[in-house]
Structure formats: structure tokens, C-alpha cells
Subunit: 386 residues, 4 copies
């Protein structure tokens, strides 16, 4: 595994736990943790349960004992590492974003395609797909439970940037993060909407905004700024903190999307609602063990949204865990992701989301940016009309 | 009162009830009900409690005993009637839309301005403003409870057109209704958003869609089609049933708006959420006696949306009604509207929303249509940049 | 109408409104308002729309023009007035409690029975039965939608006595009010539970408590206490403010009941849940336009409580009002009550709840008190085993 | 660890995970798994990560390499194993119930007390205490946030016995399980209520019921019944499936309690609400990442239950996990329990809940049974008045 931050903690827990709850054809072992700072690395490796460490990520690629490379580093490094791993014949789990540009994603998708022919598996970490309620929503939609799809609405709302004095981080600088709320959280609802509806987005009209344009320099905040009075120093935020966009799916269905870090009181409100001719499904990650299901064919007088606790044996992934009504948490999405990947490797099938799917998400993000730069005019995805 | 449909029922109840719960300087009496069909008119007048009827609306205008004209007819007749009433020196309550075009609204706003100088009061029926929870939301925002406004999101979701075989009505024909979901329900959230934030919208980017383009002719549905096999006859829907639009308020705050009649399971989900630097308010008309309030200044660990039942004496209008926890219903918004209008007449002040405010809503609607017709490009309101 | 307090306002609104929304065989007129204080009476009569007033309630009984007597006075006067009215051949709407003792209720039930043979109708004001969601719950249960009843849980939670310095009122003195939370609000959930399940309670085990045993004298609070330091004067509360009781319905089903005015934050949480072998219904008056319905026969994976907005034409009373999703309020329960009573009078049928049903509620209350006085031992209702 | 069922899975996950998220002074290792069936044991040990197995639980006690014994067997074996472990100087984590009788619990509490003087730690597995929202509720109550406690209401509602044809299990036979809904799930709300309020229950009045008195023999259901037509064979259920009880806490506060497995649609609704003179807290395990908090001291008009997502750094245990808004699941309560136990061992302090606290819960259960057997009369706990 390369990278040991927040995602490293989540991923390593998943690698340690998946085979303890799911019947998997293979039993993963945590071998090498790669990172930059030797001290932090040693501590993380001990905590996460890795056998060894290295400050040279290439060591992981070159180690013949290693079968799977898990990439948890910042997005701008994904391209180089994933490419090397695929070429070396390692199965790859790459955190999202697949890369910071459409071009890099295209290259990675092509490499994954080529590697696939050699039996090398790859998967991009849109782990929210593995929320039981969302996987169940997809299943209901695919089974026709809501009829013909009519409309999609999706929001990813957080509030941690509402405070204008929250300090600067690399996530707010375009050269490092590539994008702001749009790419970091908007990408998730794009992926989910396409996946649940089984339909690609083919055009967008979007608007981006940076509500708080400057923030205190991190050092200044922490009193580490060095000489002089730097307490008032503020740095420019170069990415969006609010992204509004409308999308058109293949077939013409419209979707209303919003990604915001200015939504006071919304801590992790990743919401998606799909309306159809005969029903609807609605979800909010703040209540991740629930799916709201509406059945327009229910008897008159008894129609309404049904709050389904997705902890029954009939719900995806749920049978591996606890009795009905005993909910799961955020980290389970990663455990499910690892379980699916390990099963795919063992069964020699291709896991999802593929790098091609991640590329499609990146194309939507790029189109939103293009539209925003052109007064929100509709922009079509490559090969598609606006 | 002119018109006796659904709105006539709501308005007449309000006129009968307002002075029984509120201390008003004047005591309204229901005098004349005007309409087209003599039989239906007679029945409605008896039911609603009017003393007399007429099939000539001009009789109402000309009657010196009448002080207030309440216009509940379809939108395309508002302009002529309201203009005549104002010129005759009658106080006017005109249902929304004020008129079907910006030009007609401008003329009405000018006439109202002129009449005001003669002590004639006018009000446009955006009655949702009189929901206690929404009036309280406005008060909180005005008092600075949520700090500086950062973002608005508003939705008006219904589902009565989800069924592709729901029959054609005049509301779905552009020549009669002027507009579809946008003007009929979208207008409400535009008005509320501007009113609660105390800020005008000055630019929009919008998309309109007609999801179900044809519908069974009403007659065909009812087997009244006459000769031959007409059961399959379908007519063209000429207005939108979904409207998505982003707006920019004066000062630069963005808002995300949606009006839809394709939102399965959402019966009357008129929702508005205003996020600020120090808090937020959120509302859903399906739970009209509740306001969700978020206070970012609450002690760490105790922050969250507070579900306020707006039935306390401190809440607008609530003291006139029942003990705490005993909710109000839809029709109370009209009773409050009448109470405010009667008080304004008695106190010789100007009630709100004025015709100017209704004109501003109409301008936003027109801008959304213009943007939708130009690939969703941002369109500025008159005198304002896009 | 006799009495003009809070209930007088609600009842008179109902009498004015019922025939405006429901097709009734008769058209009620408000004739005489009776009460004690001439000034308050005159003001109330003007506000409520009565033609005349009297300080002698017997005038109402004796007036040959009056057909219906509506009794809104405190409970200790009901017996005398209702008895006189029934004997005089007036139809009677008597607010709950029917009377303050089982004996008086028995006498009234017998009088009502006798009057019925003369075509005189009587109804006791357990108006919550007319909440559309609760009437619909009853209908679902009667139709077998939840199968065989297994369990009932009911709570009526308020918080207005949580503050130990809330002042003394007559409602907290046994000689005037008869009972505290038990009789005032507990009576409602007893009536509803019996009505919805269609089954009588036949035994109870209960506990009563007075959490705050003394309260500031009302006068002292208002600085009207006269000479000396009376600000600290407190009077004894002689009724319960918390009542907990278990009940056994005929057939053996158990129910768990609580009535409390110490439930901080619960403003009017009248809740009832009925669990059956094949489903359940659950209700909370704080969201009076919603009924939660659970169907155990739904497909595996799709089971859950469905939030039904009871504003559809299929729901009791709803068709008389507004379009779907446009909620009703507290006062509508009274309008429905009057509509049902007027229809019963016109159709010469007997309305419900009858005085016999109100007597049964009083018997349950008495049994709870008897059990509470005997260390919560089970007490059977008359003619029934414990 | 002794026992490898559902609890074994949860506990072993906790032992594997606690030190990966919490900074603990010791690093636990999974050594021996004991159980009866060699095959199942081998499979479980591999899955859970134990180094070795034994079918003789005494081996665990006698192994000098083992420091902690975790008892996950059925309740009737706890007494013998825990006693042996304590005497052998092992730290003990014993699942609830501590034992099946008050006498056995007393003996264990005495043994734990004696062992404590030798530095041996013991804890009983009421793991729900480690739900962040509940631990935070306790903290708020202890800090005086809700003022003086006025009332408690607690429910543990499930529905898996609603189906009268759900098959017989050992949990429904008194000789094996000791108790039904009362002891199995009612015990949790008793423990939580005492812990959150910081007050012991000292008297109870209770009612027990077995709604479905016979159930299909498990074998018959599975077609394993052997010769003849056994498909209709039903066995007697000898424990309660519904328990209703009122309790009195030291100081006189009343509580209303219910444990039911007949509550259709309630999957794991463990609810507790504590009302105080200045506020309230309310919790439902079906939404385990939320705590509802009411502050009666909030400004008039802004009072209401605040939905706190207990995923902030300020909330107990939450800082060890994910960013705000990313919820935890059921199993985390066990991980927290292990973390607290390991820390207590390392710091030589006593963890909670102690065996004495578990004994107190058992005494309440016994008192409820005694009261139920005496027509629900109030029964005092030992040394306390009824």
C-alpha cells in the first residue's frame, strides 16, 4: 500500500477485515507500506499491521511477493504509480480520483484495458457504491422497480469550509488538488448517479464558485509562521467550494447536481434520489443504513416513502454482518470493496468501477469546468452532443 | 371575489375566518361572487357565504359598496381585472401569477404604484410567505441568526405528472397557462428565496424539459370522444414539467433551484434551505409546522439541526391560534394573508408582496426561459449583468 | 354553546366551517353563547359569530329555536348541563370529560340511551378520532391490514409542567379538575386505542406521580399577592403530572400507556402504535398529517415503515379539503366532528363517540386510579376480571 | 475466548481492531478459541484469527500465556467459567447476562471484588454503553445539561417473533435462556438507564406476556423431524416475548420500560429518553449515530430537539475514527469495549460495567419477574422499599 493518511487507515482496516466476514477465495496479507516520512511511516505500519516499510514506492512495484498495489496517495501521483503497477502486472486498487486530468485518465484506462488481457485486475475507489443501501437502490432500479427513469437529483453537502477562518490546506489549491468541491465530492455523486441508473451522462451545464476567496495561511494559524506579525496573512483559495450543475443522461433524463462545502449543518449529506415512472429511491449518507423507497403501484391511500433499514439478508453485503437492525458504518464500504476485488482476482473476473468508468467521471468533471468557464452553456461529452 | 375554483374556496374561508382569530381594525363581509357559469356560481356563493353573484366581473368593480376585489381567476385574466379594479379605487388581492408576461406585470406594478398614492392597497397572493415557519425563517435571517448568507437551495417537488397517462389539462397548454412547473410552482420558491434572504435575484441559468410530451385528451379519457376509436388520442404538452435553474442573488450568492412535477412520491415538497456563515434554516412544506434551524455557534458537540415546532407564541401568526404543538394547515396561509391585508387597509400601510415584488418574480421566470432557450447561458435581469 | 374558552374558539370555528367544506343535510347557525362574565361573553360572541348571549345556561336549554347544545365548560359542570339538555330534547355535543366521575358518566350514558329512543343525538368530544391519519389507521386495522393485533403502545407527552415555577392553575387542583395528566390527556389515548383496535380495555395496572408537588400561587407570580412577601408562596398540586399504566384489552392484548406533562421538548406528542401479526401503524400528533404503516407481507428487502401523507382523496375527510400534500391542522378535527354530528342528526343515525364510549373511558381512568392506590396491582373493569 | 457464535465474531473483530484505532498501552493477541464442536471451532478460529483451539475451556484458564478470558458462551455457563477465570487470576470480559440468577451473580460479584484486590480486572459486556451517542448522553446528563432528572422512558423493540410460525429456539425455553425479551433485551435498557442517569433502580412493577405460546419445533420446520407427520408439531414457549414495567429510581424518578419482540417493523429500536427540568436527551439505536438533545434554556422560539450527529471529535470514541458525518456501526461498540478494557488493564484501573453493576441489573430483572408473578404489585430491590 502506498500512502498512509486517512485513506490508508480505512484501506488497511478493510484488507485486515474482509476475509474475516466474507468467504473469499484468497486471504490477503499486508506486506509493505510505502510513504515519504520514515518516522510517520514506521508508526503507521505498526498501527495498520504492515510487515515492512519503504520510502521508495517503486519497491512495492518491484517486489515479486506483492500481488496487489493499493494507491492511497494524493491524486497527482496516481497516474505514475498506477501505470507502473499495471505494467508490472500488479492488480491495482487506486483511490479516486483516478488522476487529475482527462488525458491521464485516458492513458490509465488504456493501460488497464491492456493489462486486463494479461489477467491483471484494476479498480478505482469509488467506495460509496458499496454502501448496502446504494447497491440495493441500483438493484431496484435495474429490476424495474421504479419503472422508466424520469429524473435524478444528487447533492453532496458538507460544511467544513463555512467558517471563513478555517485554514488553508492543499485541498484548496488548484495545482495540488486539481479541483475543489466539484472533484473531491461531486465526483462521488456523478459516479453513483451513472452507476445506479446504468446510464452515462452525456452533457452538462455548470457553475462553480469560490465563496471564501482567501483563508488564513495554515502556518499563521498555528503560530508557526516564523518572524513578524503573520497572524493576518491570508492565502488565495484557487478551487471552487460550491459547484452547481445540471446534467443530461443518455436518453435525455435530466439531473440536478450540487456539491458544496458551504452547506452549514450538513456534515456528510451525500444524497441521491432517482424518480421513475412507477416509483423512486432516495438516500442520504448521514443515514447510511436506510433507503427510502416509493412505490407508485402501491394501493391508493397507502403510498409513501418506505424507510427500509438495509440490514436484512436480502440487502447487498448485509448477510455477512450482524442481525437485522444492527447498522454498518462508513468503513464497511471499504471492506466490501476489498472483498469484491479479492473475489474478482480469485475468480478471474473484472471488478467495478473500472478505470474506464473512472475516466467517464473525469470527463464529466472536465465538462462541468468547461461549461462554467463559458457562462454555463451546455457542453457535450466527447463524441456526444451538448 | 372573482373566480370560485380551488383558490376561491381557500380565499373565502380566509375572508370568513381572519377577523375571528386576529384583532383587525375592520371586519370583512363577503358580498359578490363573480364567475362565468350561473349554476356553479350560485352553488359556490351559497357554499362560500357570498350575498350575491354576477356573471359580469365588471359589476364587482362598479359596485360602490365593495372595497376589496379578490381575483382568483386563471392568470391570463388578471391583468385586465386588476387594472380595472385599481383604477376604480378598489383594494386588490390578486392571486399569483400577477400576469402571464413581464410587460403586463410592469403595467400592473405601475398602476399599483399610482393607486398607492391614492391610498389604494394591492397585494399579490404568494401566500406561502404566511406560513409561520417561513415567516420565522425570514425573521431569523434578518436578525443575523445565520450570519452572512452563503448559499440557497430551493425545490418545489410534486409528482402528479409522473403518470404518463394523466390526462391533458389547460395547465399543460402554453397558450392558456403561460408556463408549466416553472411558473406555477417555481414562482413560489423564487418569491420565498428573495423574501427570506431580503435580496433580489439578478441572473439565472436554466433548463426546461417536458418529460412526457403528449397526454391523453381529457375527453378521450372519459369516453366522451364521440365516434370512432379515439381512446388512443393524445395531445401535445406545450409547457415544461421540469425546470432546473441556478440563480445569482445581488451580492453574488448562488442558489440552486428545481421545480418538478415528475418527483415521484413528493406530494407538495416545497423546500428551501438558506446556509449562512453562522447557521442555516431549512423547511419542507410537507411538514409545514416545523423549521429546522442550525446554529454554528452552539457549543462543540451539540451542533445539529434543531427541529422547531413553530407553534409557540414567539412564532409569527401562531399566537392567534392554538396551544403549543397543535399545528396549522395549508389554508391558514390564506387567513394570515387576509389578516395582513385587512390590517394594512385599516392602518393605511402597504401590504406585501407588492405588485413590484410580483413583477420581480415574473422577471426571474422570463430570464429562466430566455436562458433555457439559449443553451442555459446565464441571463441577467433587466439592468443587471448576467 | 355554553363556554367560550379555548374550546369555545375551536368549536365555534367548526360550526361556522363544516357546511362550507362538507355536503351536509343541515346548515348550522350560531345562536346563543352562554357564560359567566358578561363582558368577556359579549366579546367572545362577537368574535365567534353568535347572535346573542346569556349568563344563564338554562336559557339555551329552554330556547325552542335551539336544536343543538354544545358544552365547552369545565368538566365538573358537564353532568348537570348535559342531563338538562338531553331531557329537553336537544342534541348534545359534550366536550370530554363526559363528567368527573364514573357515576355521573353512568347517569349521562343512561340519559343518552333514553334520549336516543326519542331521536335525540349525543356525542362526546374525543375529537382526535377525526384526525384523518387516525381514522385511516382505524380503517386499516379493521380491514385486517395488520393482521391479528399483538400489542399497543400509546403516549401523550407534553412538557408545560417541566418548569417547577410554572404557576398553579385549576387544572392542577383535584377538586376542580378531577384528575391531572391521566384524565386530561391520558383519556385521549385510551379512547383512541379502544377505537382503533375496536376492543375495550378490561384491566389496568397503573402508577401516578406528582413530580412537582407545589407551584407558585398564580397571584403571587403576577405580583397581585397583596401585602407582605408573598413572592415565595407556593400551593400544593393535588393531581398527577405523570401517569404510567399497562392495560389489557378484551382478548388479552397488552398495551403500554404513558401520559406526562414532564416530557421536556415534547409539545403535543400524542402517539399511538398498534402492532399486529402482519403489520403495524404508528402515529404522532406532532406530525398529524402523516401515518406510518408497516406491511410485514411486503417483499423481503422492501419492508419498512411507509410514511403516508394522509392528504389523498382515499383518506377520511381529506377529499373535502385541499390537493394532495397540503396538510390540515388541529382545528380540522373539530370541523370533522361537527360535520359528522350534523350528518348524523340529518340522517337520524347515532354519532360516535357515544356517551357509553365516554363512560368506558372514564371507567378505565377510575381503574388506573384504583390500581395506583393499591401498589399498581391489576384492577379489572366492572364485570371483568383483573 | 470461549464461544464462537455471533458474539464471538463481534468480539474477535474488536480484539483485532481496537489497538489499530486507539492508543492502547498493550497490544492484544488472539491465542486460543475454545468451543464444543471441533470442526466448527477450527473454521471459526481460522476465520477469527486465533492461533489455536481447544474443546476444553479449562485449557484457556490453565494456560499461563493467557491474560484475558473473553466469555461468549450461553448464559448458563458464565458462572462456572468466570469464577474459574477470576480465581486463576485472568482478567475477564463476560458477555451479558453475567449469570442466569441473582445468586450466581452475587457470587461472581464477590469473586470479582476479591480478585480486584489482586489486580484482576473484570467487565460485563453491556456493550451498548460504548455507543458514542449514549456515552455522550450520559456525559450531558452528568454535566447538568438537562437539569434535574424528571422521567425516563426506555424501549427495546424488535419484531422477529411477530410471525407465529417463526421456529422454536433455545432462547424461547426458560431452562436454557432463563428469561425472554425481559432478560435478553430488557436488560440492556435497564443497564443504560441506570448508567446514563447515574442512579439505581430500587423498585419495579411489571407484567410479562407470551403472545405466541407455541411454535413449530425447529426440526419439524426443517424436515428433520424423523418418522411420521411431524410437520404440525409445536412446542411450548416458556419465556416472555413482551415485558412491560415501570421502575422507580433512587430519589423517586419514575421510568416507563418496554421490551418486546412483537413490535412489527421495529428491527432494533433500542430507545431511551431522559427528561429533565432543563432539557432532554433521546436516542434510538436504529439511528445509532444520532442523539436528539433538547435545551429548555434555548431562546424562546428556537427550542426543539437538536439532531446531533455524534461523529465530532468532541463525542466519546469518535475522534479515533473518521471525519465528521461518517458514521459508525454496531460492531464499534465492542471495539470500544475492548479498548476501554485494555486501557484499564494497562493503567491498573477498574473498567465498567463491573460485575456489581451487572448484579444490579439482574436484581431488577428478578424484581420484575416477582412483580409480574404478583399481579404487578410494586416490588422493592433488596434492602430497598417497594
Amino acid at each position: 500500500m502506498i500512502g498512509y493518511g486517512f485513506m490508508g487507515a480505512a484501506h488497511s482496516h478493510a484488507w485486515r477485515s474482509a476475509h474475516r466476514f466474507f468467504d473469499l477465495p484468497l486471504h490477503p496479507e499486508l506486506r509493505t507500506l510505502a510513504g515519504r516520512s520514515p518516522e510517520a511511516l514506521a508508526e503507521a505500519a505498526a498501527r495498520y499491521g504492515f510487515a515492512q516499510t519503504t520510502t521508495r514506492w517503486q519497491d512495492v512495484i518491484e517486489d515479486p511477493e506483492i500481488d496487489v498495489v493499493d494507491i492511497c496517495t494524493p491524486g497527482d501521483t496516481h497516474h505514475e504509480i498506477a501505470l507502473a503497477a499495471l505494467r508490472a502486472g500488479k492488480h491495482v486498487l487506486c483511490e479516486k480520483p483516478l488522476a487529475n486530468s482527462v488525458e491521464e485518465c485516458e492513458e490509465l484506462a488504456a493501460a488497464a484495458e491492456e493489462a486486463r488481457s494479461r489477467g491483471v485486475r484494476s479498480i478505482c475507489g469509488f467506495s460509496y457504491r458499496r454502501t448496502p443501501a446504494l447497491a440495493y437502490a441500483r438493484q431496484l432500479v435495474a429490476d424495474g422497480a421504479i419503472g422508466e427513469i424520469r429524473q435524478v437529483r444528487a447533492q453532496y453537502l458538507q460544511d467544513w469550509l463555512s467558517d471563513a477562518d478555517a485554514p488553508m490546506t492543499w485541498r484548496l489549491q488548484k495545482d495540488k488538488a486539481g479541483s475543489g468541491a466539484l472533484g473531491d465530492i461531486g465526483a462521488h455523486i456523478i459516479d453513483l448517479a451513472q452507476w445506479i441508473t446504468g446510464t452515462d451522462i452525456e452533457g452538462v451545464s455548470g457553475t462553480l464558485q469560490t465563496v471564501v476567496p482567501t483563508r488564513p495561511a495554515a502556518g499563521a494559524m498555528q503560530g508557526l509562521g516564523g518572524k513578524g506579525d503573520t497572524s493576518g496573512e491570508r492565502q488565495e483559495v484557487t478551487v471552487d467550494d460550491v459547484a452547481l450543475f445540471s446534467v443530461r443522461f443518455a436518453g435525455g433524463v435530466l439531473g440536478s447536481f450540487e456539491a458544496s462545502r458551504m452547506a452549514q449543518g450538513r456534515k456528510n449529506a451525500m444524497r441521491i434520489e432517482v424518480s421513475g415512472s412507477q416509483g423512486a429511491v432516495a438516500f442520504d449518507f448521514e443515514r447510511m443504513n436506510e433507503l427510502e423507497v416509493y412505490d407508485a403501484k402501491a394501493p391508493a391511500g397507502r403510498q409513501g416513502f418506505t424507510r427500509v433499514l438495509t440490514t436484512e439478508p436480502e440487502h447487498p453485503y448485509a448477510a455477512a454482518w450482524w442481525p437485522t437492525g444492527h447498522g454498518l458504518g462508513y468503513e464497511h464500504t471499504f471492506t466490501h470493496e476489498v472483498a469484491d476485488l479479492v473475489r474478482a482476482i480469485g475468480e478471474e473476473s473484472d471488478p467495478s468501477p473500472s478505470f474506464e468508468e473512472a475516466l467517464q467521471v473525469q470527463r464529466v468533471l472536465a465538462a462541468v469546468e468547461a461549461s462554467a468557464a463559458d457562462a454555463s452553456r451546455w457542453v457535450g461529452l466527447p463524441g456526444r452532443s451538448a
